[in-house]
Amino acid sequence: MTEVMVERGSRAHRATLGVGVALVALAATVPLWADSSWMREFVEIACYFVFAMMWNLLAGYGGMVSIGQQAFFGLGGYAMLALGNFAGFDPFLAVPVAALAVALLALPVSWIAFRLQGGYFAIGTWVIAEVFRLSIANVSAVGGGSGTTLTALRGIPRATRESLTYWLALSAVVACIAGVYLFLRSKQGLALQAIRDNETAAESQGIAVRRMKLAVYAVAAFGAGLAGALYFLGNLRISPDAAFSVNWTAFAIFMVVIGGIGRIEGPIVGALVFWALSRFFSDLGTWYLLGLGLLAIVVTLFFKQGLWGYAQQHWGWALFPTQRRLVAPQNGAITSRNPP
């Protein structure tokens, strides 16, 4: 057999890469010229996005549909606050350190969570999050149920604080997209997909299923913790009900499902849609939330693959291809991937 040819990308995908780099470069200069409200908005949406991206990694690729990721989001926030307020950490440095701490904490938590599967896993993780919420709510050092304020930031000038927070958020977003993409393109990505499809078979093909799932769980926890730490760095105030609210996961699910689960573009599209909706309609209050709920229902029922999945199916769009297509050796004997 001649050299094996495997197709992994397309022109669109290389173009994306170029546009992406340019966009990031431009975005990095925002604090120099733009209004601070833009930065604020970006930080907020970045938190939602990073969180959704990690949920997508966990559920869409790892097959672990969790409704309890708010546990790590909240813990990230509290860890950042504790480091900043009590340990005298620089609050900006505290963000990644907090995320790391959360990832470590995820290891013992996984021991319980991994005893469950499917719907049980979903609800079980929610209960675990509730356990964290109730536990933190009984720690008076962080204000108990009423929560507390991030005092470590008092005294840092507003402009410095805003720019640093913004850059931190931007790096988190870039790192998150790049990290997930590279991971999924690597052979570990294959293993992950295999596990999602069939755990028994994956194990018998030499994949260390448990270790892989644990790694994904820890990475997802790290991302959720990062998002949480970042969010409460921007929000300055934390309380158990806010930090461990199931709405975080609900919003992440909405974003991922609207954009398309199990694809990197999904959370990106979802986050953009979510941002646009909340920007224009969130003042409608109940009606806005009601509409969001309906939208999620309609998309799930009628666009099972989400908006991006729809685009991919109909127009073959793929910005972040992770598939491997075998290119036919001369005779062209390979049937197309999706029968016409």
């Binding site: 057999m1 295999a194 093909q205 994949i207 491997r324 297509r325 049937t335």
Partner: protein, 239 residues
């Protein structure tokens, strides 16, 4: 020394003894056929060897080392490849990706090496034309082929095959046997559970018959097939 050795292996579900103290040795390079009535415990035996099930009692040695406590993926990496009676494809991945995964993880290859060996395996098993199709859309027989292809891609020293000839036409069964011969020629040891007896007879060096979780017969094919007990219990011929 035997490549695989089971020592008084037992497994039960509640009161049901599915595997009842089976001892069995498979020599390196040998092709062993396993026969037995439905529900005799053949698949269970494979599950015990591959690590999908835990033993209740006994010991399993592979290549001179005790593997009783190893996880399935460790046994796979050690060289025990298997196919499932009910195919278990990664349905949302393409056939090619299925096999590449096996080559990467079971075979411990780098991704580029894996592409090459996946192609070879696909060609060998006649699946090359389906390489870019989703495994979930394959027909039953192609799924069975994929089981074989994946098992081969893990570069096994010992290959466990569970009913891969069922549903093949005579012609296709002939092709399969020819392919297994080629595999054997590469020095791979095989254990094959099969109800399509003539296919099994065409290649097996030795037959092992299980009934109610115990050994009923063990020996050269001709001798086993003419054993009156086997004829009565399995083939349904008057003894």
């Amino acid at each position: 020394m035997a490549l695989l050795a089971l020592h008084a292996v037992s497994k039960s579900y509640g009161a049901l003894k599915v595997t009842d103290g089976i001892s069995l040795a498979v020599e390196e390079g040998e092709t062993l056929g396993i026969l037995g009535p439905n529900g005799a415990g053949k698949t269970t035996l494979f599950n015990l060897v591959s690590g999908d099930l835990r033993l209740d009692a006994g010991r399993i040695e592979y290549a001179g080392r005790d593997v009783t406590g190893l996880a399935p993926h460790q046994r796979c990496r050690a060289g025990i490849g298997r196919s499932y009676q009910v195919p278990q494809p990664f349905g949302a991945m393409t056939v090619f990706e299925n096999v590449v995964t096996a080559a990467c993880f079971g075979g411990g290859q780098s991704e580029r090496q894996a592409w090459r060996s996946a192609c070879e395996v696909l060609e060998e098993t006649g699946l090359l034309a389906q390489a870019n199709r989703l495994a979930g859309a394959l027909t039953l027989l192609d799924r069975k082929r994929l089981e074989l292809a994946r098992a081969l891609a893990t570069q096994p020293r010992l290959l466990l095959l569970d009913e891969i000839a069922g549903g093949l036409t005579e012609h296709e069964a002939g092709q399969l046997v020819a392919e297994l011969r080629r595999i054997r020629a590469r020095g791979i040891t095989m254990v094959w559970i099969e109800h399509v007896v003539h296919a099994l007879l065409a290649i097996a060096d030795r037959l092992f018959v299980i009934d109610f979780g115990r050994r009923l017969a063990d020996g050269p094919p001709q001798a086993v097939m003419s054993d009156p007990q086997v004829q009565r219990v399995y083939l349904g011929m008057e003894g």
